[in-house]
């Protein structure tokens, strides 16, 4: 049904950087009740504000896993300022594209990155621990916006 690129499948089969960074500087979680996926991102930053390590955990489909995996690869070596510029389209592009209906899985990546950076800057309030039960995930609007941007 979905036409996944080889790149998506490659990341799905061999996801990079699965797990959690110890004592993370950045931490974010998002979950979309609408499609039941959840994503957690942690990263570590060195003295030059460069991301040295990024890890993820994902409860989601192949796109969600591949998008998270690709994101962690993109993050490594970037300054936080540069990392902030990454959009869901960049993530999708690095995978050779995603099926239209699955673009929101990459939106999750953008969202979790925003949250992790906010945490890093000292706004951990953005991160509620009880995700899934509290729907603060990607909204319909955001998905539609992402779809439009990608058309």
């Amino acid at each position: 049904m979905w036409e996944y690129t080889d790149k998506v499948m490659e990341h799905f089969w061999n996801p990079r950087n699965v797990g959690e960074v110890e004592n993370p500087d950045g931490l974010g979680e998002v979950g979309s009740i609408a499609c039941g996926d959840a994503l957690r991102l942690t990263f570590k930053v060195d003295e030059n504000k460069r991301i040295t390590e990024a890890k993820f955990k994902s409860f989601g489909c192949a796109s969600a896993i591949a998008a998270a995996s690709a994101l962690t690869e993109m993050l490594k070596g970037l300054t936080v300022e540069d990392a902030e510029k990454i959009t869901n389209q960049d993530i999708a592009a690095s995978l050779g594209g995603l099926p239209k209906q699955k673009m929101h899985c990459s939106v999750l990546g953008e969202q979790v990155l925003e949250k992790a950076i906010a945490y890093y800057r000292g706004n951990p309030a953005d991160n509620k621990e009880e995700m899934i039960c509290e729907c603060f995930g990607v909204t319909e609007l955001e998905i539609q916006k992402a779809l439009k941007e990608n058309n």
Binding site: A34, G36, F59, A62
Partner: protein, 390 residues
């Protein structure tokens, strides 16, 4: 290694005998059954002999059997056809929450046109309660449609009782038997069925050919208007090769159905008990006993259906899932929701559906392949971690 195909509720591989029957028809019985010359008469003969076979199989008379293009078409014909022909009598239809889209979608269409539909609830194993039907019936009820067995969770509904209630009240009773036709015995007389839908590709027959049983005297308007085929109940040049294949599939079912039901039930129960034992926080969806012999539907907490499905596929095993991530609409299964499953558990569901060719070895292979896949995906899941520290 040969592929292990366990998605037979989605569709089956046509039996070799079925392919043979189709091939012979494609080569030799190519006439238009409406043509008067001998090439046409031969085709006509093939269809009428197939019709008699179908009728005998469900204890109907040949006149009551209409060939259609799919199970979906049969359902649409019944629902819209009865609505149209009985709209003067009433505008109320009763169905259930767990019907296939091929029943729900035409019902929604009718609701847009002003019809009222009551969706009966079910218990947490998927069973509909005949008492609920009794309560739901009103003066305006013109049709009751309850599926024989559910395609996702395999639960078998109490059709005979439901049918008896309708018969007593003089209301037409339809059952979507797409999942049971050729797998479980069906007797339309004994089970009080007025209308029944079936689809050949679920019983090792070809895709693109369906059946509609309509008891003599049931008033129904056709969905396809045109020529005089099927006694004006369904226009279109008849799909003779499809009908030939369907008839052969029914012939096979008649001889092996009973034996296969027992055999597959054994394999089914082995897979269920092994997974329940080996995978913590797993559960069976649907009824443990009143269940299609070939259906296993289970949820594995903290993992996502599509991820399991693709991992299994990589290792040569085909299954399906009720996960939203795998449906075009990205909506989670309405059937699992109707069982009261949380979204999360519904996302972690897999359906294995067996066939006449499924072996014991294959079942063991599935058990030993799936268990580590789930462990590995759980290690990756943010939900699992939380649960673990709790």
């Amino acid at each position: 290694m040969d592929r292990i195909y366990l998605d037979n509720a989605a569709t089956t591989q046509p039996a070799p005998e079925v392919i043979e029957a189709m091939l012979s028809c494609l080569r030799k019985t190519y006439g238009n059954p409406s043509s008067l010359h001998s090439v046409g008469l031969e085709a006509r003969g093939l269809i009428e002999s197939a019709r008699r076979k179908m009728a005998a199989f469900i204890n109907a008379s040949p006149d009551e059997v209409i060939f259609t293009g799919s199970g979906t078409e049969s359902n649409n014909t019944v629902i819209k056809g009865i609505a149209l022909s009985l709209q003067d009598k009433g505008n109320h239809i009763i169905s259930t929450a767990i019907e296939h889209h091929a029943v729900h979608a035409p019902l929604s269409f009718l609701e847009e046109q002003g019809f009222k539909v009551t969706y009966l609830p079910n218990d947490d194993e998927g069973l509909v309660d005949p008492d609920d039907l009794k309560k739901a019936i009103s003066e305006k009820t013109i049709l009751v449609s309850v599926m024989h067995a559910n395609n996702e969770i395999g639960t078998i509904e109490p059709i005979r009782e439901l049918g008896a209630i309708c018969r007593e009240r003089g209301i037409y009773f339809h059952t979507d038997a797409v999942q049971t036709f050729g797998h479980l015995p069906i007797d339309v007389q004994e089970m009080n069925i007025d209308l029944l839908s079936a689809s050949a590709h679920k019983l090792y027959g070809p895709k693109g050919i369906g059946l509609l049983y309509a008891r003599k005297g049931v008033k129904i308007k056709p969905l396809l208007h045109g020529g005089d085929q099927e006694k004006r109940r369904r226009a279109s040049t008849e799909n003779t090769p499809g009908i030939a294949g369907f008839a052969k599939a029914v012939e096979l079912a008649a001889t092996e159905m009973e034996r296969e039901a027992l055999r597959q039930t054994r394999l089914r129960d082995r897979l269920i008990s092994a997974l329940l034992e080996l995978v913590p926080e797993s559960r069976l969806n649907g009824h443990p006993k009143l269940r299609l012999p070939n259906n296993i539907n289970m949820s594995f907490a903290y993992v996502e259906g599509e991820a399991m499905l693709l991992n299994l596929d990589m290792q040569g095993i085909s299954v399906s899932t009720g996960s939203a991530c795998t449906s075009a609409s990205l909506e989670p299964s309405h059937v699992l929701a109707a069982l009261g499953l949380t979204q999360e558990l519904s996302h972690g569901s897999l359906r294995f559906s067996l066939s006449r060719s499924t072996t014991e070895e294959e079942i063991e292979q599935v058990i030993s392949t799936l268990t580590p896949i789930i462990a590995q995906l759980r290690a990756m899941s943010p939900l699992y971690r939380k649960q673990a520290v709790k």
